[in-house]
Subunit: 117 residues, 2 copies
């Protein structure tokens, strides 16, 4: 499965940029993070997500949405609210969250990479 949100439409659309530093405690985190991606993908207005976390526990997740209304609805989802509370109480030492309107976008595929299956 591609790590890229390659199917986002022509701008404008919206991005939620979430950068975070994990604490050491891993209890339940991986399963919850996976569940949140699954759940986000079911939301109305979801366009895609890109995510990475390095060995130091620093990560960036960018999710893409068709409108601020869709972002607000996802933020207010009951199961997501529970995950947000656990994030603050247990999992994150620090995070920054930004909501942005995507105005321009382009992609690049290396010729060799594009030729591979």
């Amino acid at each position: 499965m591609s790590r890229f949100a390659s199917t986002t439409p022509e701008p404008p659309y919206y991005a939620v940029i979430f950068s975070s530093q994990r604490r050491g405690d891993d209890t339940g985190y991986a399963a919850m993070a996976e569940r949140m991606v699954e759940l986000a993908a079911l939301q109305r207005g979801f366009l895609g997500v890109e995510s990475c976390r390095d060995a130091d526990g620093f990560g960036i997740t960018v999710s893409y949405w068709d409108s601020p209304v869709a972002i607000a609805a996802w933020k207010a989802d009951v199961e997501h609210l529970r995950a947000q509370a656990l994030g603050r109480s247990d999992w994150y030492a620090h995070y920054e969250l930004r909501i942005a309107r995507v105005e321009r976008a382009h992609a690049f595929d290396a010729p060799e990479a594009a030729a591979q299956p």
Copy 2:
């Protein structure tokens, strides 16, 4: 040094969201990536940068700028243009680049983490 761009001002400002998949070849990449962060920080209108790359070579870098003009000037920087060309010829299998206007932002600090030096 913080991994966070914690000194960005109140919105609005701009974000360049760059997600990329590295190829296997590492020649010169780390030094160039470090140099580009140093050089970006010297540009007029630069507000900060957050970056991570995981063990699979997938990474997300978000740089923050005060205006589209600042982003355009950085894109056209001669040394940066050379790095962009090497990125396409040597380093990246695929990338997605999005320019977005940050409209809202907030941060969270865990009480324990905040109490640590």
